[in-house]
């Protein structure tokens, strides 16, 4: 037991979050019926503590990760990057919940509890090499998301979103579990590290050995697990749930799904792929197979970004458009994974960080706009630009970033992704991605057009200063990061993350 307690220190952020969730739950019970904003503040404080602990941890960690809780949890910079990401997005989402004019102010303590629970799930997902804990984390995240999607009980759309999400999520979890059980049967372990490279006497068989003996079961297992991740990050053809769920869920929840949940899914995907195919010591045959998986991911990336962008063109609702845009962006991030190099993984991580700024901003704008008009269609935006100039210009910054134009972080992120992909021999994918950003311009700037280019329609010029402030800060960060202001933390963190995964860069020329 003592051994266990000694290892607790490394999972302190998770423990703090768990304690926070229980505290929030109890406090809400005690304060039932009164204003829930206090709980929001408590959540923010708890998240701040967690974030501080994570930063401490980052400082202590070297290039190599360490394992704790009997090898269940892997603490490395890769995981910590995504934990910081989760905490960061959670904090903004909490603020969104508190500032959302369409949300009740009373008796919504469970809202915060479920959000924190989802974050704990994301924490487990991003920092484990063990497929059991990964699956549990995924389920924690998913189950919390299902309830959150249906949180607006009176709304039929919200209920439908929850139902759809739960059915598709259940299907994906089943597919993934099937893949995991095959992997377990083949290798005799649930640990990704051992699957990639099983030393003598570990009792496990490495995946490469099994692959050499019989490739097809290995391939089925790997691909089924990947399909599970593909559902989570809404990659075509596993994206069906995304538009409906994003549209039906309360907007702050949509924000969390689009940013926090998606990043956690990508983290797990990158770790899975990295551990199986790119770690030092894995056999050449499986590395070659990994390249084919990379090619598969590249094709999926191309289809995802194209389909996401083309579908977004037709949307009249801003929320639905952002849902399709998030599918398209999943395609961009997947480019990084498809590169199958540590540069590619770093690029994917950096792009996610960029995506964090610009997508939180865009959804924050949506919440603001819904609060003002009670609608979410692009046509109702008419004249926003002249009545709410600060918010509208912030939105323009986010749109520019989402399109991937300088001088914003979206451009910077896309540039790094392009490098990684061309360096990995995926020049055709880069050309497709470049064409896609032109397509995306068209629908992103429909928003700008509605806000500025059309004559205003009479609307209630109600102000929401809190939200406007957050949007301003995000917009400024988006531009400054694009100008290279935060290059050290952001780029450095993204670069060190994959390094801690012990990924070696495959020789691009051999491909």
């Amino acid at each position: 037991m003592n051994a266990y307690i000694e290892q607790m220190g490394l999972i302190a952020p998770e423990l703090v979050l768990t304690a926070l969730s229980l505290f929030v739950l109890t406090w809400d019970l005690l304060k039932k019926g009164r204003n829930s904003d206090h709980i929001g503040y408590a959540t923010l404080v708890g998240l701040a503590v967690t974030g501080w602990l994570l930063l401490q941890q980052w400082g202590m960690l070297g290039d190599k990760g360490t394992q704790t809780a009997f090898g269940m949890v892997t603490i490395d910079r890769f995981g910590t990057f995504f934990k910081l990401f989760t905490v960061g997005s959670m904090a903004v989402v909490t603020l969104f919940v508190m500032l959302d004019k369409n949300e009740r102010k009373h008796g919504i303590g469970e809202y915060y509890f479920l959000l924190i629970g989802a974050s704990i799930g994301a924490f487990f997902m991003v920092s484990t090499n063990n497929l059991l804990l990964l699956m549990l984390g995924l389920e924690l995240l998913s189950l919390a998301s299902y309830s959150l999607a249906g949180f607006h009980k009176g709304s039929k759309r919200s209920a439908e979103a929850a139902l759809k999400y739960i059915v598709f999520g259940g299907l994906s979890a089943g597919v993934m579990l099937y893949g995991i059980s095959l992997l377990y049967g083949l290798t005799g372990t649930l640990d990704l590290g051992l699957m990639g490279h099983a030393p003598e006497g570990s009792g496990a068989v490495s995946l490469a050995t099994q692959f050499d003996a019989s490739p097809i079961p290995v391939a089925i297992a790997v691909v089924l697990v990947l399909a599970g991740f593909a559902y989570k990050v809404s990659v075509v053809p596993f994206h069906f749930w995304t538009p409906d769920v994003y549209e039906g869920a309360p907007t702050p929840v949509t924000t969390f799904l689009a940013v926090g949940s998606k990043a956690a899914g990508f983290a797990a995907l990158l770790r899975f792929v990295g551990a199986l195919f790119l770690t030092d010591g894995v056999d050449a045959s499986i590395v070659a197979y990994g390249d084919r998986i990379g090619f598969l991911l590249a094709i999926l990336a191309a289809i995802t970004m194209t389909l996401g962008n083309l579908s977004a063109l037709r949307q009249g609702s801003l929320k639905r458009m952002l849902a399709y845009s998030s599918i398209a962006h999943a395609g961009y991030v997947l480019m990084g994974a498809a590169s199958m190099t540590s540069e590619g993984f770093a690029a994917a991580m950096f792009y996610l960080a960029a995506y964090y700024c610009m997508n939180l901003g865009a959804f924050g704008f949506l919440i603001y706009f819904e609060g003002v008009t009670g609608k979410d269609d692009i046509d109702s935006l008419k004249g926003m630009g002249w009545r709410h100039p600060v918010v509208a210009w912030s939105m323009v910054v986010f749109l520019v970033a989402l399109t991937g134009l300088p001088p914003t972080v979206g451009f910077y992120g896309k540039l790094i992704l392009f490098y990684a992909a061309i360096d990995a021999g995926l020049a055709w994918l880069v050309i497709i991605a470049a064409i896609n950003s032109v397509i995306s311009l068209f629908y992103y700037f429909r928003v700008a057009k509605s806000m500025f280019l059309t004559e205003p329609v009479p609307q209630v010029p109600m102000r929401q200063h809190g939200l406007a402030g957050i949007l301003c800060v995000l917009a400024v960060v988006t531009v400054l990061a694009g100008l290279g202001a935060f290059k050290d933390p952001l780029r450095g963190w993204a670069d060190e993350g994959p390094a801690s995964l012990e990924i070696y860069a495959t020789d691009a020329g051999s491909r």
Binding site: A69, K101, L133, G137, S155, L224, L296, G385, W386, R387
Partner: protein
């Protein structure tokens, strides 16, 4: 003999699983699920996991299923179309079918990426060979697998709260989120923008 039994039980489990989806009456669905659990527990027995088999029967078939039945009886749920009509929500079966098919196609692509011949699979021997001994199981569960165990308990708590949050009755005076006509948009007009 064991192999034949395994295939029989597997087919039984799959058939029962299909029955859960196909049955129009919720009661039949539950009964089919019960059948599937029995088949699975039989497979566990064949594999030599007596404890797991018994737990499966006790917990799922014994406790949870009875609870399900109670709920169905108490609520007097009838035809599934009736349920769909009452809740006003219909899930598009087509989308679900496409999603399922795409998973299958994806698996096929996986096979294609692997490229060459089929050989019999040598599965690895499971590391914790004594997993069926209750003591070993307990030790493993509370040492190596303690964190997943705790995570699972958190998962249950979270699910419970989530279900309550969705199912609890709404109080009078709370907005219903029908999507339009928010009362607070009727605030007095503000001044024009500063731009």
């Amino acid at each position: 003999m064991a192999e034949t039994l395994f295939y029989l039980l597997s087919i039984g489990a799959i058939a029962c699983g299909a029955g859960v989806i196909r049955a129009r009456m919720p009661l039949f669905s539950v009964l089919c699920l019960l059948g599937a659990f029995f088949c699975l527990s039989g497979i566990y027995l064949l594999a030599g996991f007596q404890f797991l088999a018994v737990t499966q029967l006790l917990v799922y078939a014994g406790a949870i299923m009875v609870l399900f039945l109670f709920v169905i009886m108490l609520l007097n749920l009838g035809d599934e179309n009736e349920i769909a009509r009452q809740s006003g929500i219909a899930l598009s079966g087509k989308q679900l079918a496409v999603a399922g098919t795409s998973a299958g196609v994806f698996a096929l692509i996986g096979v294609l990426t692997a490229g060459y011949g089929i050989a019999p699979v040598e599965t690895a021997s499971t590391r914790a060979s004594g997993i069926d001994e209750l003591q070993t199981l307990a030790v493993e569960l509370f040492s190596r697998y303690m964190l997943p165990f705790e995570a699972a308990s958190l998962l249950l708590l979270l699910t419970m709260i989530g279900v309550i949050a969705i199912a609890k009755r709404q109080r009078a005076g709370e907005p219903t989120h029908t999507g339009a006509g928010f009362p607070w948009t009727k605030e007095p007009l503000d001044e024009e923008s500063t731009l």
